[in-house]
């Protein structure tokens, strides 16, 4: 509930959150290249990996039995990657537009700002992923939606990770300005080899497997392979992912608050566009 006299930054107003969602929606629908961009690259990725899997499965008994793992991995990776990018791009739009000062001087609380960015990451993801998942059915007969409740568990865990990374990157951008912009585009790629998107964790060197098992998406991709290859839904993996996600989200939120405080001390909010 909103209370104009409250003295805390942790108060939450659905109305202010809705205002920010409205702002990003106006922006999205004002530009068809922005909309096209949401669909274009996931489609290219899905087609490339889909045809590769088709070729490999025709020449390998194992991969014939592991039908859909590549396409499934691509689509789930896109949830992770696009979720974070969707969050970060919406935040970057404020810096590109030099609008951050207006927002920071308004009654908008950081938690409302972050909530709006989370909602927009889902909206952007839906615009990109729903058509691509339908194309995967048409081209390769891979129906992501047939995963049912497992897909829900995968999605929740991946989107939580993507938000955590997005929140931390937003803090870096506030503290360091546009000098940290490249982090928004590249940070998630560190997760690509470590979370074993396209191969089992067992492939990694023994010591690196410990690192890998500390990252929530690792459990999701292992869970996806268990489901598609062994036809077993691993609840234990999903719960472990959720546990690590809670820790990661809390750490990212703490980091954001500290970086925002530091930005106020350093005066970075005054030069947020530079």
């Amino acid at each position: 509930m909103s209370n104009a006299n409250a003295d805390t930054g942790f108060e939450f107003s659905f109305n202010r959150t809705a205002a920010m969602v409205r702002r990003y929606w106006y922006l999205l629908i004002s530009s068809w290249p922005r909309l096209l961009d949401l669909v274009y690259w996931p489609t290219v990725q899905m087609l490339m990996w889909g045809f590769l899997q088709l070729y490999v499965s025709q020449n390998s008994g194992y991969f014939a039995g592991a039908a859909g793992t590549f396409i499934g991995a691509v689509l789930l990776w896109d949830i992770l990657f696009r979720g974070q990018i969707g969050f970060s791009i919406s935040f970057l739009e404020e810096m590109w537009a030099r609008n951050l000062g207006n927002l920071m001087m308004s009654p908008l609380r950081p938690v409302e700002f972050i909530s709006a960015l989370m909602i927009m990451s889902i909206v952007r993801l839906a615009i990109g992923m729903i058509p691509v998942s339908l194309l995967a059915i048409a081209f390769f007969g891979f129906n992501l939606w047939s995963l049912g409740l497992a897909l829900v568990a995968f999605f929740i865990n991946l989107i939580l990770t993507s938000w955590s990374i997005g929140i931390f990157v937003a803090g870096l951008l506030l503290r360091n300005g546009m000098g940290a912009e490249s982090m928004a585009w590249t940070i998630m790629f560190l997760f690509l080899p470590l979370t074993c998107v396209y191969y089992p964790v067992a492939v990694l060197p023994h010591w690196l497997q410990y690192v890998s098992w500390c990252l929530p998406p690792t459990y999701v991709f292992e869970g996806m392979r268990a489901l598609l290859i062994e036809h077993v839904f691993r609840t234990d993996l999903m719960l472990a992912a959720l546990g690590f996600n809670v820790v990661l989200f809390a750490a990212a939120s703490f980091g954001f608050v500290k970086l925002l405080e530091s930005a106020r001390v350093q005066g970075s909010l005054l030069q947020a566009g530079e």
């Binding site: 108060e11 205002a19 530009s31 609008n99 207006n102 009654p107």
Partner: protein, 255 residues
């Protein structure tokens, strides 16, 4: 015990210091602005005006000293008062791809403005923006953009209005028009206005008090007429140059 009958100032700055590593941007300044007053903050580049305004807005945390706005300590208690304040600056923009109406609608919602459509229509009429309401903000001229920023700054009928170079980059006619609107708002709303500017005629016209900053300190602080008398100058610009260049000792006048 006797009660202090003096009204609480709208803005109270007390021994405010801001240090960025080795650079001292603001060096122990103090002033109090009564509610309903219009004050000009003058100073050359690097004098500390923008940092001072940023601390008043809660965008920058002071190294030491205090800032109070409408009784709330900034930045710690900023959410108590941000809905009663607003600001306008050429250093921030409205989102360019959104239309004027969309921009104002978003900010009206952020400030919980009642009757949004009516308020936007009223402001658009007053600021002569009606014909631009459905045009993207990025396609407006500099003068039109300033009027849109001013409309955003007045959306929530702020009690405290902070203006950083409100007429920078405007032609004289548009700048004069903006000043007239600000004067009218001040009279109608009784708002407290703090105005950072390099434009001396603007300050002379709008402000009943002038604070001159130099190297992070308050160099002088008085009514324009008294400053002119004290420095023996005909214009505030000459006073400003005297202070900026450290020449022309100020002459104390007998009370």
């Amino acid at each position: 015990m006797a009660m202090d009958a003096r009204p609480t100032p709208a803005i109270a700055v007390e021994t405010l210091v801001k240090r960025y590593k080795s650079a001292l941007a603001v060096d122990g300044i103090s002033f109090a602005l009564p509610a309903g007053s219009v004050t000009g903050l003058l100073g050359g580049n690097g004098a500390g005006k923008t940092t001072t305004i940023a601390m008043i807005m809660g965008l920058v945390t002071p190294t030491s000293g205090t800032v109070q706005v409408l009784g709330a300590a900034m930045p710690a208690q900023r959410y108590r008062v941000l809905h009663r304040m607003n600001f306008e600056s050429p250093y921030v923009d409205m989102p360019m791809r959104l239309t004027v109406r969309q921009n104002l609608t978003v900010f009206a919602q952020l400030y919980a403005v009642p009757d949004v459509a009516e308020r936007i229509a009223t402001l658009a009429g007053e600021l002569e923006l009606t014909e631009f309401l459905d045009r993207p903000a990025g396609k407006l001229s500099a003068g039109q953009k300033t009027r849109v920023s001013l409309a955003k700054a007045l959306l929530n009928r702020p009690e405290v209005l902070l203006l950083d170079e409100p007429t920078a980059s405007l032609d004289p006619d548009t700048a004069d028009w903006v000043r007239a609107r600000l004067e009218r708002y001040r009279v109608e709303a009784g708002a407290t206005i703090l105005l950072a500017s390099h434009n001396m005629s603007e300050v002379e016209r709008l402000c009943e008090r002038v604070i001159i900053m130099k190297k992070g300190k308050v160099e002088d602080d008085d009514a324009p007429a008294r400053l002119l008398a004290r420095y023996g100058r005909a214009t505030l610009e000459d006073v400003f140059l005297d202070v900026a260049r450290g020449r022309g000792e100020r002459r104390e006048v007998a009370e």
